[in-house]
């Protein structure tokens, strides 16, 4: 399986615990990434189109707010499995990195 791209990972993470509408996903991704990743509508809906076709997300329900349609998206079981696989992969990498950092020789005080 190919490594997941960051926007995909973030969108699936945003949908992991509850369904969200488009703007909700954008705001949540910004929050999760500490403002580092700012999704825009074009990127988001291209990603949702691909993830929907891959069966990783699906439309959940719709509501009308201020006369405008809001469609909520949810993570499917396949989406949850794909996210869990990616989380495991990232965890393995970070554990290796942490182990190697812990084994790094201490720098001596007099070096600048």
């Amino acid at each position: 399986m190919k490594a997941m791209q960051e926007p995909t990972f973030m969108i699936l993470t945003a949908l992991a615990d509850s369904p969200q509408h488009g703007y909700g996903i954008i705001a949540d991704v910004q929050r999760i990434s500490d403002g580092r990743l700012q999704l825009r509508a074009g990127t988001l809906y291209a990603a949702l189109d691909r993830l929907g076709a891959d069966g990783l997300v699906a439309a959940d329900h719709e509501e009308i707010v201020d006369g405008r349609l809001r469609r909520y998206y949810r993570l499917t079981d396949d989406g949850a499995a794909a996210l869990a696989t990616e989380v495991d992969r990232l965890r393995q990498r970070t554990e290796i990195a942490a182990r190697r950092l812990a084994g790094r020789p201490q720098q001596l005080g007099w070096s600048s």
Partner: protein
């Protein structure tokens, strides 16, 4: 709604015309909602570029069909394992037959009888089968670049030999290479389109073990006399066991989306097999090559892929 907001909405709707009609029908209103959620008076340039990029991505997805889907990637990875194993089976069969006949003919020479086939002819034909085996081994070892080039080059060489009047390959031998040519091409496509071979092995799991007895049974049943005459005694048992194992393997694969797509891809081989067994087979060389390499595989795959898509849509409809 203020005049500014209405004007902004009109501008965004004009930009959204870049999107395919079906996407606009399903998502235009909610995208407008997202775009208008921020307090802007005119479209942000980055938003415009992002919308154009999104439209391009979606149109490309529609244009290239569904082959970029993860399920198709996985299907190609599965086929990248199955096709080379079948290719090895198909190539070993004539190789074993020829070696057997060669040994047998030398025994006849020793007894003062004319050999069945010349050693030179056997060597030339065997080179072809060994080359097909090499392609399959490269694919199974995950040597993608060299394997892909070899998997496409070898069929080209074989077809060239079929048409070459001075070719080293007899028409009979070339004609029997039809199926290996198709399998080699399928292996090439799978290597080109799929992730590494270990992913295919991971997806297939223990099911890959079913393939080996099926291929062995096929080889044992079709190796020509006089190589292993004793092995033909248990025909019915071997064929039945191989058929049952094949059905078990196919049913097991049909349970996953990637497995179903892999089955659709393997229909290419099945349709060629059925075509070979059909009472009306085109015998003229150019038409035979066109039929075998293009028409029959394409027709088989199209029917299988369409069938799978319709079944999945029906299942999805029932779930809703």
């Amino acid at each position: 709604m203020t005049v500014n907001k209405a004007s902004l909405e009109d501008r965004y709707r004009r930009i959204l015309r870049l999107y395919p009609a079906d996407h606009r029908r399903d998502h235009e209103d909610e995208m407008i909602g997202v775009l208008l959620a921020d307090d802007r008076t005119r479209p942000d340039l980055r938003d415009v570029c992002d919308l154009a990029w999104g439209a391009l991505l979606i149109r490309l997805r529609r244009a290239t069909g569904t082959f970029s889907e993860e399920r198709w990637h996985d299907a190609f990875a599965i086929v990248g394992i199955i096709a080379p194993i079948l290719l090895i089976g198909l190539s070993l069969r004539p190789l074993a037959s020829n070696v057997g006949k060669f040994v047998f003919s030398h025994r006849l020479v020793m007894h003062g009888t004319t050999p069945l086939r010349s050693a030179e002819f056997l060597a030339e034909e065997e080179l072809l089968w060994l080359a097909f085996c090499a392609v399959a081994v490269l694919a199974l070892l995950g040597v993608r670049r060299v394997g892909t080039v070899a998997a496409f080059a070898l069929p080209a060489v074989t077809v060239g030999l079929m048409f070459s009047s001075y070719g080293a390959l007899s028409w009979q031998a070339a004609a029997s290479a039809d199926l290996p040519v198709v399998l080699s091409l399928l292996t090439g496509v799978a290597l080109w389109a799929s992730p590494p071979a270990r992913h295919g092995r991971h997806l297939l799991g223990r099911r890959v073990l079913i393939l080996i007895p099926i291929v062995m049974a096929y080889d044992v049943e079709t190796i020509e006399w006089p190589t292993f005459p004793a092995l033909h005694n248990g025909s019915l048992v071997v064929v039945t066991a191989a058929t049952v194992l094949t059905i078990v393997g196919v049913v097991s694969m049909l349970r996953s989306a990637a497995g179903r797509r892999a089955c659709a891809l393997l229909t290419v081989v099945l349709s060629c097999l059925l075509y070979s067994a059909a009472p009306i087979v085109i015998s003229a060389a150019p038409l035979r090559v066109v039929a075998f390499l293009i028409m029959v595989p394409l027709a088989g795959f199209t029917i299988a892929a369409t069938g799978i898509r319709l079944l999945e849509r029906a299942a999805e409809g029932l779930r809703r």
